[in-house]
């Protein structure tokens, strides 16, 4: 059925919320991969039928599944993302889980990118059937230094995520790492440069460190190529030809601050973006400030922000919205969706003015991706 799909990746499987373009009536399909961790699932905007899902079952090794019929049937990748075997008994890397998936450009219809934990970048040119490491990154002699070594990884492992393509040049790639920072490649992944100047990293001794930052979510506008970032310390915008990030989160209300996980861009207007602030004080509870969830929207590239909490709980809501768990659909007005660690999915069909709960009682939500099905 053509229409809108919201793919919800959870700790216990993949759920698909379905509607037509009016977005009034919704149904749920699934679970797919019941009991397995789905860190990310993406419907390919190039054909509206292919879904690629990053799946890991408890203590089994990680893999990738793909569907070419909108989720009716699934096939496992014949060669999932994996690091090369280390030579001569040296200790090599092993993919713990595939964390992030990004479809490639329109002129390479089978291409997908995957980011893993520990931090690795992989590419498929056959629709996710087989994956190869991007050697320019994975085998770069400074990679271990960039990511701070494995001992500095967050509790669930370091991740490579936020894989973005510049819409004006698909050879121009961006990635974010937690930890490691933001990096770009202008030659399809052959060479990489850090781009973290201007970003705070209050856990690093050098305030002008070139790398080692904690990107939570980096987005490139699909039309203009504008760059925005939510990281561990704040919200930033990068304006070329400048070479430093500007902290647009300083315009957020002081009581709220500018810490959070997700950042969502308007699919057409590069000046409009949303964030979902969380409590980054004391021991980092990572919950809505004072238990009162709200999105914040800027319509002027981060110069000013407005609170958007109509319809959301007024108090005692203590969930977290993770970095892949908030997204936008391509319709007009834009629909926004976020999933919570408490298993709720919320939606707004008027660009954040009002929120409604689409479903309750799902497992812990890791990712929410909205797209049109063919």
């Amino acid at each position: 059925m053509p229409g809108l799909r919201v793919l919800v990746g959870t700790r216990k499987g993949l759920f698909v919320l379905k509607s037509d373009r009016r977005r009034r009536a919704w149904s749920m399909e699934g679970p797919h991969f019941l009991g397995q961790i789905v860190n990310h699932a993406v419907l390919d905007p190039r054909d509206g039928r292919t879904i690629v899902a990053a799946v890991r079952a408890g203590h089994l090794g990680p893999t990738v599944y793909r569907s070419q019929d909108g989720g009716k049937s699934w096939k496992e990748s014949a060669r999932p993302p994996a690091f090369p075997k280390a030579a001569g008994g040296a200790k090599g890397f092993s993919v713990s889980h595939v964390f992030w998936l990004t479809p490639g450009p329109a002129d390479a219809p089978g291409r997908w990118y995957a980011g893993t934990s520990p931090q690795g970048l992989f590419v498929s040119d056959d629709g996710g059937r087989t994956w190869d490491g991007v050697a320019g990154f994975n085998e770069h002699p400074d990679r271990i230094t960039w990511i701070g070594g494995l001992q500095e990884a967050p509790p669930d492992g370091g991740t490579l995520h936020s894989i973005n393509l510049d819409p004006r040049d698909p050879r121009h790639l961006y990635i974010g790492m937690s930890a490691g920072g933001a990096f770009e490649s202008r030659d399809a992944g052959a060479t990489w440069s850090p781009m973290n100047r201007g970003c705070a990293a209050d856990f690093l001794p050098d305030p002008e460190a070139e790398y080692g930052h904690d990107v939570h979510c980096l987005r490139v506008h699909p039309r203009s190529g504008d760059l925005y970032q939510q990281n561990h310390c704040g919200i930033y915008r990068f304006d070329r030809p400048a070479s430093r990030w500007e902290r647009i989160g300083r315009a957020m209300p002081k009581k709220i601050g500018d810490v959070g996980f997700p950042l969502v861009l308007h699919p057409r207007d590069p000046a409009t973006l949303w964030v979902f602030p969380m409590d980054g004080g004391t021991v980092w509870p990572r919950v809505p400030i004072e238990g009162k969830p709200a999105a914040y929207r800027s319509r002027d590239r981060g110069a000013t922000w407005e609170r958007q909490d109509e319809g959301l709980p007024r108090a005692q809501a203590w969930y977290t919205v993770k970095r892949q768990a908030m997204g936008a659909d391509p319709l007009d007005p834009v629909g926004l969706y976020f999933g919570t660690t408490g298993g709720e999915v919320w939606a707004s069909f008027d660009e954040g003015e009002r929120w409604d709960c689409l479903c309750l009682h799902l497992p812990h939500v890791y990712s929410v991706e909205a797209a049109l099905a063919a």
Partner: protein
């Protein structure tokens, strides 16, 4: 020889918990298993040829961590997956 698999891997074997596979070593046996049930090996053994942290393999009821472990045709191999966690 007989290989006994845990339920998390049964999706590869049409829900069969006991299957047949051949090999002169544990490594050869797992590769043969993967030929018969594509994808199953990578979920048990990582790309560095290490048995995954929460998987245990027993040969004739003795735990084995070496993929080079020789096998005889009448050995029985048991793969166990931990079910800890919530």
């Amino acid at each position: 020889m007989k290989v006994v698999l845990p339920t998390p891997l049964a999706e590869y074997t049409a829900r069969r918990r006991e299957v047949e596979a051949q090999g002169a070593t544990l490594d050869e046996l797992l590769r043969d298993l993967d030929r018969r049930y594509p994808g199953i090996r990578f979920r048990v053994v990582d790309e560095q040829d290490a048995i995954r942290a929460h998987i245990k393999i027993f040969v004739n009821r003795s735990q084995e961590s070496r993929l080079a472990r020789p096998l005889a045709p009448d050995d029985e191999v048991l793969v166990v997956a931990a079910l800890s966690g919530g």
